[in-house]
């Protein structure tokens, strides 16, 4: 056989093998990753927390409470516990509470009623949580007033030094050095909309000057990821050891012109960013225990949303219009049952 006849099949074989290897590489890396992923999902008319391996395999219902709605899991850095939200009641009689439990779903302890979006301090001993602005129910994500610390051992909450000045925060994230809490503010504290750093044990507030929302600080270093729009996720350097941290070099990490991409979270070593992705929508009130609003908000049913991971080692922007599934990104969940708010459950130390 002449070489000219062989060439197309050689090229095709090379492309297939290359693609297959690339797919295998990201999948196999995630298969070998010993951490797990926890996320919320709407399952059989109820919100539950699901846990799976990093590659999405071995998925199981962690909470399995058909009459209680669990949402917004956040995992302690020592891998021992998960804090989360619980919605009870329906419609305008809903009460949202913050809770904490062991990694296997046992030993559930309520932190507070009328609470929003908890997150862990890096020592795994304290949880930051946001009191609701009013006791009346509202699905809006910035519906908070104040900032509290919950001590896991004493089971008591104490206010942040400037808690009385804090209003309309959402999506807090602690820095790995314990010095700062990053969060979004909307229409509060003199800001129209901003991503802030708040001194964890002091009164300093720094506007990072980056547009967007839902910041997440890297658990092992000085980087931040956040949604810079409905369709973009960025990362940037940030000197969190400084007394006046500033955002350094920014990089557009992920872009999806069609779907919304939200809730970016670092993996424990910072090798991956996991996020939620799906079509725009404002919920589906025909589904019990869900609310009407932007589908990225906690408690709003997001049809077709799944969890994805991308490696942070890619130097180029990942654009879903051109990116290769399995090579540039990996789809962790498949069912699209409003899978949102993933966090990495660290391997127990």
């Amino acid at each position: 056989m002449k070489l000219t006849k062989l060439l197309p099949s050689i090229v095709l074989t090379t492309i297939c093998c290359s693609s297959s290897n690339s797919f295998g590489t990201l999948k196999s890396k995630l298969e070998q990753n010993t951490h797990e992923i926890v996320h919320e999902a709407y399952h059989d008319g109820n919100w539950e927390l699901f846990i799976s391996s990093a590659d999405g395999s071995e998925q199981k219902n962690l909470t399995n409470t058909p009459k209680i709605n669990e949402l917004y899991p956040q995992c302690s850095s020592d891998g021992s516990k998960i804090c989360f939200l619980v919605d009870t009641g329906t419609g305008r009689n809903t009460i949202r509470s913050a809770w904490v439990m062991s990694r296997d779903g046992t030993d559930r302890v309520k932190i507070s009623d009328h609470a929003r979006q908890p997150c862990w301090a890096p020592d795994s001993k304290k949880i930051v949580w946001l009191p609701q602005e009013y006791k009346k129910w509202n699905v809006v994500d910035y519906y908070s007033k104040g900032l509290m610390f919950y001590d896991v051992s004493t089971k008591e909450s104490t206010p942040h030094p400037i808690s009385d000045k804090i209003r309309h925060l959402y999506n807090p994230s602690f820095s790995s050095n314990g010095k700062w809490i990053a969060a979004t503010v909307h229409a509060g504290m003199g800001f129209n909309h901003a991503i802030l750093l708040i001194e964890a044990n002091g009164s300093k507030i720094i506007n990072l000057g980056i547009s967007g929302c839902r910041p997440c600080l890297k658990p092992n270093g000085n980087q931040i990821t956040w949604g810079s729009g409905d369709h973009t996720i960025e990362v940037a350097d940030i000197d969190l050891d400084s007394d006046n941290p500033k955002v350094g070099k920014r990089r557009l990490m992920i872009r999806d012109k069609v779907n919304k991409i939200y809730h970016s979270e670092w993996s424990p070593e910072g090798k991956y960013i996991t996020f939620s992705r799906g079509p725009n929508g404002k919920g589906d009130l025909s589904k019990p225990s869900t609310y009407q609003g932007a589908c990225e908000m906690v408690g709003v049913f997001a049809k077709g949303w799944n969890i994805f991971s991308v490696p942070t080692t890619n130097s180029k922007e990942i654009d879903f219009e051109t990116a290769s599934p399995g090579k540039d990104y990996y789809q962790v969940s498949k069912d699209g049952l409003s899978y949102k708010e993933a966090d990495w459950l660290h391997q127990t130390k």
Binding site: H186, K282, L285, S286, Q292, A294
Partner: protein
């Protein structure tokens, strides 16, 4: 209710009512609601809506007849949102008497329901169903229809501005020409002839209707409520000028469709505000006047 009957009711009430009631014209009545909010009773009537040979979506001018209703004298303010225990999304938060803005369409409707509950009225929007559909029999607060808004803003006048020409706009409105690129306290400019403030400026105001630039070509005469739509999130009508509007955009017939923001976690349209209206019967009006 026929207009003569209404006028009689208004006259009778005005002669025997308490301090909270004062006569503004022959046919409108200023009142305070159960929660202490100032409103104006706008009587039933007929007017010419739109502008003949105006912009495409303002034409043709056409006759519209409406039942009477109660309309807020001022745009909904920050302190009214706080009273209702709702998260205030406004950009400018330096004065509780400023109008709320950055309000999504659905949030404005949610406020209407909260106020209805505070005043022991039946909520007008069914929060248990997708899209919060209207409960037509309910007596609670709601957003005005586009026709109601224009009727109230015209206050019986046929001109572009109920107070005359654009030269008087600065006396009646916070707009691009005098706002300093921000909102201002409600009621700090002159009211129109029916005693209603800020219809021509400060913040633009959400209406209930779906926006359709062709709607006036086949709009019904009796209580038009906007076109039907199959879209889950169509543009909605927003009426009246705002702090950033040109004088032309403050004209009473100027129409605009705005994205509702209902699918946005954060909504940054800082000229979108609203005011409430509600249907009212003769008996309810008399009760309110008491």
């Amino acid at each position: 209710m026929k207009l003569p009957t209404l006028l009689l009711v208004a006259t009778l009430c005005l002669s025997s009512c308490g301090k909270e009631t004062k006569k503004t014209t022959q046919s409108t009545i200023e009142l305070k609601t159960g929660s202490g909010i100032e409103v104006v009773y706008v009587p039933a009537g007929t007017f010419m809506m739109g502008k003949e040979n105006g912009a495409d979506d303002e034409s043709p001018a056409h006759k519209v007849s409406l039942a009477g209703f109660i309309m807020d004298k001022f745009e909904v303010t920050h302190d009214m949102f706080i009273e209702a225990e709702l998260p205030n999304p406004s950009h400018w938060q330096d004065d509780p008497k400023k109008p709320v803005e950055q309000i999504r369409w659905q949030e404005a409707r949610a406020y209407c329901n909260e106020r209805s509950i505070m005043e022991e009225l039946d909520p007008y929007y069914d929060e248990t169903k997708p899209g919060f559909p209207i409960i037509e029999t309910a007596n609670g607060y709601r957003l005005p229809t586009e026709a109601e808004w224009e009727y109230a803003a015209r206050s019986g006048k046929d001109s572009d501005y109920s107070f005359g020409s654009s030269r008087q706009l600065k006396l009646h409105s916070w707009f691009e020409g005098n706002s300093g690129k921000r909102t201002h306290r409600v009621g700090t400019k002159k009211a129109n002839d029916w005693g209603i403030h800020d219809l021509y400026g400060n913040v633009s105001e959400w209406c209930e209707d779906v926006y359709d630039p062709q709607y006036y070509k086949n709009s019904p005469e009796l209580s038009p409520a906007g076109p039907e739509t199959k879209s889950s999130d169509p543009k909605r009508v927003i009426r009246g000028g705002s702090w950033k509007s040109s004088s032309a955009m403050c004209r009473v017939s100027f129409r605009r469709g705005e994205r509702t923001g209902d699918t946005d976690a954060c909504f940054f349209t800082d000229y979108c505000g609203f005011r409430c209206v509600r249907n009212i019967s003769k008996e309810q009006l008399n009760e309110l006047i008491k």
